[in-house]
């Protein structure tokens, strides 16, 4: 290189200038810039270290290295982005897809499943990305409403922690490589008839998958299929065998029930038909509309559930005592023999009046047993319903909806036996998380390792994947085809909304590998199955119609009449006594369920009904047990729980309205390998849960131990009476009083006259005037509205620490208030969105007019203009404003960007936000109506909370339209404004809640 001047790079320039200071520095720089080397360097445009040139390649910065690095970063970039890059054309739609108008969302019908049972949904898609899940109004399980799990499933789709690759022992492998090895294994099994093959699935109702499994068993007759769902209806299955001698599916019609007795059944908020039940139940709570008789609900339960909060009579019984109540009712109604009195005075007080009430409403009442109650309680309930003539009017039996309704504990035990015998060569685990959720005594985590080859299909690389050699990344239900049955057997076709983000595979695809057509696409798998099923000639049309509607018309299983076997109630086992110990109760968590949703920030962060706890489970104890356990504070002290020789440390949360002597543990927490949001949250009650006592048992010992836990609950215990009576937060009364004097529910509350202001009135009478009513008599406090709002409005998840610091961002909240003694109070729920006050205190004080009133009465929030003085939030008496104390919105994670609703601003740090009545939906409807030169129709706009509400407690509309539902409801005698005495004139008003107590018990 002697002929060319020495090459320069930035480091060399720096080296030359080093030591030069002040004038000298500039001189040196000048001198240097005049040299040919420097000029060459400038000409080359890029300093040499950026790209290694050929001649002077060195090991650190050469071309080869460059290529290596680029290759690696491409690979890594591919990993991080992890979308299969389709052929990319950057051009406008030359051929615009049919129906697609950029900027307008499209809705597709599909279905979500929980424990295998479907709920029909409509997925909102913006330019190809699903952003929001709504209920499918035509689906019997949804009726347009949606629960929290399905709402949040769209976040699960974009969860950055989802597993994104096929792995063998943690190393990335290709799908074809897996297929080859898998088919090799199958070939070996062929000779043995598949004797070494075991398939472990969750509960399956999918007809297609059932057919696939049958096909597998046809090819490999010795292969076995096992099912395990930790929070499935184990008792109901066993009860069907006990009561009817055959598997039976039960569902109810609450719209015809005048009296409902719930034996620890949270039918309004859990179970595959709870949305429908809540709708039917709420219809019977509306007074003044239709003139139907208001129903009466008796609930006996150990722990407050949304259903319990609606009870006209709520009896606190520990889970084991529910059976006692069931028996006494049976005895009292003459279907069983025995003493009418029990040792429990509360039960005795109830039995007479409740049985009389039931008898008076023969054929129009329901006795419903909780899913977590033992089979005998279900059997008693079945006999009572039969005796009361409810079967066929309010209670319906059908053939099972599950493909194979086996006793799942036995099924799991069979698998364990085979594992121990070394008989399992190939174990295929499709979904679920058995290593985490199986009964503790099975030691599933280690037992699974006894299978020679373990293949796991899962959304997450979780605790089960950890003990499997193969992990296949599963497709989310929004990414693939499928089908499933609803509570009544109605089949929904699940259609995908998006290409698999991470090239995942579905369970159907894995099962297809057993067959001779291993490459059949999920679409064809489902379609082929239904082509075989559908007999008519119009298959294509029928198929399109079924997909479009989200359900196969007429696929509901026909109700059948079966008599309860006489010997069902033959044996009565004496209930076990507490004997100084505690009763342990396991329940699926209202947020993370059995643990499957543990990495879903929305489900972790929405305050759970009644407890208002976020991001945690707890050892819930009754206030009466505090002293006995030596607990001083209401939350955070630690207990050592010992049951059947296993122990667990759990933090205490004192929960009013809980049965004495019980400790309730919610499953699903304590994940160790569940993703960033799941790991390290809460403790794992599966560590105490045995097959013998899946739901409850006596014999738990609890001892206070050292340590402290910080909970993130969003609300403390507040009583409606005592100090707060004069605030008139929840207007309430009994049906009898209300009928006598409708004003009685508002007694004592004041509302100043409209003239009481020195400002001139704004005339809202022209155009639209948006308003909302919330029927407290219908609201169950299920909190689906919170998650719906979060999904619709791009509300950030802030994490447990920030929730503890009071920075939760959800616009909607559901307050819970207690009335009566702390140990056994009545509970009232109150959803609180923005009240959209006409005299809004927030608007007056904003110095920059970032929150101002629209002519339609909306209290608008201008995020752009907000400087963040937070004065508006201070001055809001309803405290519905939320402030971005930090940059809470995720601006970084690529997959989460796809989730955002493009019609709603993603808020930055330092900005106030709040409920806007879903102004984006209002404006979309206005554009539509203006184009069609008409007014917006009533019901055309549904706010996200309204749409999700199963009880239809929330009604939104134009109060200027006298025929709108909301205008009519505002004329209802129960209508009132929260904190009306402040003269804020809220547009959101409430309908007072009424109880319909049985005068016999009341006295």
């Amino acid at each position: 290189m002697s002929d060319s001047p020495q090459k320069l790079d930035l480091a060399a320039v720096r080296a030359r200038l080093e030591g030069a200071r002040g004038p000298e520095y500039w001189r040196s720089l000048n001198e240097l810039s005049a040299t040919p080397e420097f000029k060459e360097m400038v000409e080359r445009e890029f300093p040499r270290q950026a790209i290694g040139w050929s001649e002077d390649e060195n090991p650190d910065q050469g071309r080869r290295n460059f290529l290596k690095l680029m290759g690696a970063s491409l690979a890594l970039g591919g990993l991080a982005a992890c979308t299969r890059q389709p052929t990319e054309f950057i051009m406008p739609y030359v051929r615009q897809p049919e129906d697609l108008i950029p900027g307008r969302p499209m809705f597709f019908a599909t279905a979500t499943t929980l424990n295998g049972v479907a709920t029909g949904v409509l997925a909102e898609s913006h330019e190809g990305r699903p952003t929001k899940i709504e209920g499918n109004p035509e689906h019997p399980a949804s009726l347009g409403a949606l629960d929290v799990y399905s709402q949040a499933s769209v976040l699960g789709l974009y969860d950055p922690d989802r597993s994104q690759t096929v792995q063998l022992n943690g190393a990335i492998r290709s799908w074809p490589y897996f297929v080859t090895t898998f088919r090799d294994q199958l070939a070996q099994q062929k000779a043995k008839g598949g004797a070494g093959i075991r398939i472990l699935t969750e509960t399956i109702t999918s007809p297609t998958m059932a057919a696939q499994l049958k096909a597998v068993q046809a090819i490999y007759p010795q292969a076995k299929w096992h099912q395990w769902d930790p929070a499935g209806p184990h008792s109901a299955r066993a009860a069907a065998m006990l009561a009817f001698g055959q598997p039976v599916n039960t569902y109810y019609d609450f719209s015809k029930a005048n009296v409902v007795v719930s034996l620890d059944a949270d039918f309004l908020n859990s179970g595959p038909a709870s949305l429908r039940y809540a709708r039917q139940f709420a219809q019977r709570r509306r007074v003044g509309e239709g003139g139907e008789k208001m129903n009466r609900l008796y609930v006996a339960e150990p722990f407050p559930t949304p259903t319990g909060t609606k009870a006209d009579h709520r009896l606190l019984l520990r889970a084991g005592d529910i059976e006692k109540l069931a028996w006494t009712l049976a005895i009292s109604l003459g279907v069983a023999q025995g003493p009418k009195e029990t040792d429990n005075g509360d039960i005795n007080r109830w039995t007479g009046p409740v049985s009389r009430d039931l008898e008076e409403n023969k054929g129009a009442c329901i006795v419903i047993a909780g899913e977590q109650q033992p089979p005998i309680v279900h059997a008693v309930a079945a006999i009572l319903n039969e005796k009361l003539g409810n079967v066929g009017t309010t209670v319906f039996y059908t053939d099972p909806i599950e493909a194979n309704p086996v006793d799942q504990v036995a099924s799991l035990n069979d698998l364990v036996k085979d594992l121990d015998a070394g008989a399992v060569d190939l174990l295929l685990i499709l979904g679920g998380n058995p290593a985490f959720t199986a009964p503790v005594e099975l030691g599933m985590r280690d037992r699974l390792k006894k299978a020679r080859t373990r293949v796991r299909l899962g959304l997450y690389d979780d605790e089960t994947s950890e003990v499997c050699q193969w992990h296949i990344n599963e497709t989310h239900f929004l990414e693939t085809w499928g089908d499933a049955r609803a509570f009544d057997g109605t089949v929904s076709i699940q259609q995908p909304l998006i290409e698999p983000l991470y090239n995942g595979r579905s369970a159907m695809q894995l099962l297809q590998l057993f067959t001779e057509q291993p490459d059949t696409t999920p679409y064809n798998i489902v379609k082929n199955y239904w082509r075989d099923q559908h007999k008519g000639l119009d298959f294509e049309q029928w198929w399109r119609r079924s997909i479009h509607d989200g359900l196969i018309a007429g696929s509901a299983l026909p109700p059948k009449t079966i008599a309860v076997r006489g010997e069902a109630l033959a044996t009565r086992v004496a209930p076990e006594k507490l004997a100084g110990k505690f009763e342990v109760i396991f329940r699926p968590d209202p947020g993370v369920y059995d643990g499957r949703f543990a990495n879903n920030g929305w489900l972790q962060e929405f305050p759970k009904p009644v407890t208002k706890l976020t991001w945690d489970n707890a050892a819930f104890i009754s206030p009466r047990d505090k002293q006995r356990l030596g607990i001083n504070s209401n939350a955070g002290e630690m207990l050592k729980l010992t049951y059947q020789g296993r122990s667990l440390n759990a933090p205490v949360f004192v929960q009013p309205a809980m049965a004495e002597g019980t400790i309730v543990l919610h499953l699903g927490y304590g994940r160790t390998r569940g993703g960033n949001a799941a790991n390290g949250m809460g403790f794992n009650p599966y560590g105490l849960r045995t097959a013998k006592a899946l739901w409850h048992d006596v014999g738990l010992e609890a001892v206070k131990t050292d340590g402290e836990h910080a909970f993130a609950a969003t609300q403390d215990y507040h009583a409606l009476d005592a100090d707060n009576a004069d605030r008139h937060i929840i207007h309430r009364g009994t049906l009898a009083e209300f009928k006598k004097n409708p004003e009685s529910v508002h007694e004592g509350a004041e509302a100043p006259p409209r003239s009481l202001t020195i400002y001139p009135e704004w005339d809202y009478s022209k155009g639209y005037a948006w308003g909302m009513t919330i029927d407290l008599n219908a609201c169950t406090g299920c909190s689906a509205c919170i998650v719906a709002c979060q999904a619709e409005n791009n509300i950030a998840v802030v994490g447990k620490d920030q929730v503890r610091r009071g920075r939760i961002m959800q616009w909607m909240r559901v307050d819970a208030y207690y009335q009566g003694s702390e140990a056994a109070p009545a509970i009232y729920n109150q959803p609180v969105p923005c009240m959209q006050c006409e005299n809004a205190p927030c608007e007056l004080v904003c110095p920059v007019q970032a929150t101002s009133h629209s002519s339609e009465g909306l209290n608008d929030m201008v995020y752009n203009r907000c400087v963040g003085t937070r004065y508006c939030a201070n001055n809001c008496p309803y405290k519905v404003r939320r402030f971005n104390f930090f940059l809470f919105s995720d601006y970084e994670t690529p997959s989460l960007k796809l989730l955002q609703n493009p019609d709603v601003t993603v808020r930055s740090r330092g900005v106030m936000e709040k409920c806007t009545y879903c102004v984006q939906r209002i404006n979309a409807a206005k554009i539509d109506s203006e184009r069609e030169n008409r007014k917006i129709r009533d019901g055309e706009i549904q706010t996200a909370c309204e749409a999700s509400c199963p009880a239809q407690a929330i009604v939104f509309g134009d109060i200027n339209d006298p025929n709108s539902r909301v205008a009519k409801l505002k004329k209802d005698e129960r209508n009132y404004s929260l904190l009306a005495d402040l003269n804020t004139r809220p547009r959101t008003t409430y309908l007072a809640t009424l109880r319909n107590p049985n005068p016999e018990i009341e006295a």
Partner: protein
């Protein structure tokens, strides 16, 4: 400083010690500035202040990088220490203007020896106060949106919001205080110019003194300007804290929404302002040996003002509780009950001891005349007044209308650091001031001398 020997201990009622001459007054005050030997305690105090100032920069840096979430703010307590500090500092600033303007108009000659540093204190306190409304914004870089500047979007601030009134009140106050202070400095700057030895100081003081030569015409213009500014500043003493109190009274938060806040806040402001004057004057006159100029009579007078305003404040507390009870409003009653017996009761009862019980000790001359005790008392008052604002703001917000939203505020270390930091900033500025400018008005103190009075009498 040989002259000091001549000065005798002033008797109780004297506002300047006998024995001072025009020259010795000038010598003693100017010497503090013009000496080459900066005293050790100055360095000590200054470096402590500098340390706190760095803490302030750290805290503010943290705040600007991450957001106001670094403080303990939460739903529903959206205002916490920042607004407490703002009101506290603004209140402290009041004493300076009161002394320089109102006492000037009322012809209270004893003010002459304390008005200069009291005014400086005002300025620095307002500087500290003025930062908080900006720092506490979610997006502080947009604070200019609070000003009615012409813009293409045609948006102006919301003139119904008390926060906009605050912007005007505080900025007017800061401007007038600064002007008043500077105009009052001109004759003394000229004195320093004439006395300074190094050329650089001569030039600097020369520029600042605006060509003051002390001619009769200058004095005449000066007196007019000074009176006019005093006239301007007088209503400000009342208006600023009145407007600050509107930040609360305009809100409908129970515990804020009350009509007597303006007089109550003004009294409280003067109360804490005089406490700060005492807290500064007592150690200063000790270390600089200025007992002859800032006499016990000054302290006594200041203590009396402090006591009088303290009693008004105490009365306000009683009226607050009475009005809540008499008004019968359930929210107001609950707010007062929460203050007294709720989660913040400790703060409340400490502030009651500081602001209601403690000032009554000042009925006794023995305490008023004991400068060490008075110093302690002034600190008690400062603590009490800070707590008063804290309790008003935080306790009212924490438990307002809907119990379901009630939550308590817990300060973080960044809250504490920011507050300590402004104390550092204040001290830093104050020590710069006493080193670079005469902390006592030379020419005004000279008018207190018997010599000046004799001449007037002769002439009269």
């Amino acid at each position: 400083m040989a002259d000091q020997q001549v000065v005798e201990r002033p008797t109780e009622e004297q506002i300047i010690a006998p024995g001072y001459s025009f020259a010795s007054v000038t010598d003693q005050i100017a010497a503090v500035v013009l000496t080459k030997h900066t005293p050790k305690f100055w360095f000590a105090a200054f470096s402590a202040a500098l340390g706190l100032l760095f803490l302030f920069l750290l805290a503010v840096g943290q705040l600007l990088v991450y957001g106001v979430g670094v403080w303990g703010l939460r739903t529903p307590v959206f205002w916490g220490w920042a607004i407490t500090n703002f009101v506290w500092w603004i209140g402290i600033g009041h004493a300076g203007t009161l002394i320089s303007a109102i006492l000037l108009l009322l012809n209270q000659r004893w003010r002459n020896s304390i008005n200069r540093f009291a005014e400086a204190m005002t300025l620095f306190a307002v500087a500290c106060a003025g930062m908080f409304p900006i720092l506490h914004l979610g997006r502080p870089w947009l604070m200019y949106w609070l000003f009615p500047y012409p813009n293409t979007m045609g948006i102006e601030p919301n003139f119904r919001s008390p926060l906009v009134w605050d912007v005007f009140a505080v900025s007017t106050y800061a401007t007038v205080s600064a002007l008043f202070w500077f105009v009052g400095l001109i004759p003394d700057l000229a004195t320093l110019r004439d006395r300074a030895k190094p050329r650089i100081l001569k030039v600097a003081y020369g520029i600042l003194s605006l060509g003051w030569r002390g001619s009769a015409r200058h004095w005449s213009v000066y007196e007019t300007a000074s009176l006019l500014l005093a006239g301007l500043a007088t209503p400000l003493v009342l208006s600023v804290h009145t407007v600050v109190s509107f930040d609360f009274t305009i809100g409908i938060v129970p515990g804020w929404h009350s009509t007597f806040f303006p007089p109550y806040f003004v009294a409280g402001a003067i109360y804490s302002g005089f406490a700060m004057v005492l807290a500064l004057a007592i150690p200063l006159r000790q270390v600089y040996g200025l007992q002859g100029l800032i006499t016990d009579k000054h302290l006594d007078n200041a203590a009396k003002v402090m006591m009088a305003t303290g009693l008004i404040v105490g009365y306000s507390y009683i009226m607050e509780a009475f009005a809540a009870w008499y008004g019968g409003n359930t929210y107001e009653m609950a707010a007062i009950a929460h203050r007294m017996f709720g989660p913040y009761k400790v703060y409340y009862w400490i502030l009651i001891s500081c602001n209601v019980i403690a000032p009554n000790a000042l009925w006794f001359k023995g305490i008023r005349r004991n400068s060490a005790l008075l110093f302690v008392w002034s600190l008690i008052v400062l603590v009490g007044m800070w707590l008063e604002r804290f309790v008003i703001i935080v306790s009212s917000l924490a438990q307002d209308n809907l119990p379901g939203s009630w939550r308590l505020f817990h300060a973080t270390r960044w809250d504490v650091f920011t507050f300590l930091g402004t104390i550092g900033l204040f001290t830093f500025l104050f020590f710069l001031f006493i080193r670079a400018l005469p902390m006592i008005s030379i020419f005004e103190v000279r008018t207190l001398l018997p010599q000046s009075r004799v001449k007037e009498e002769v002439q009269g």
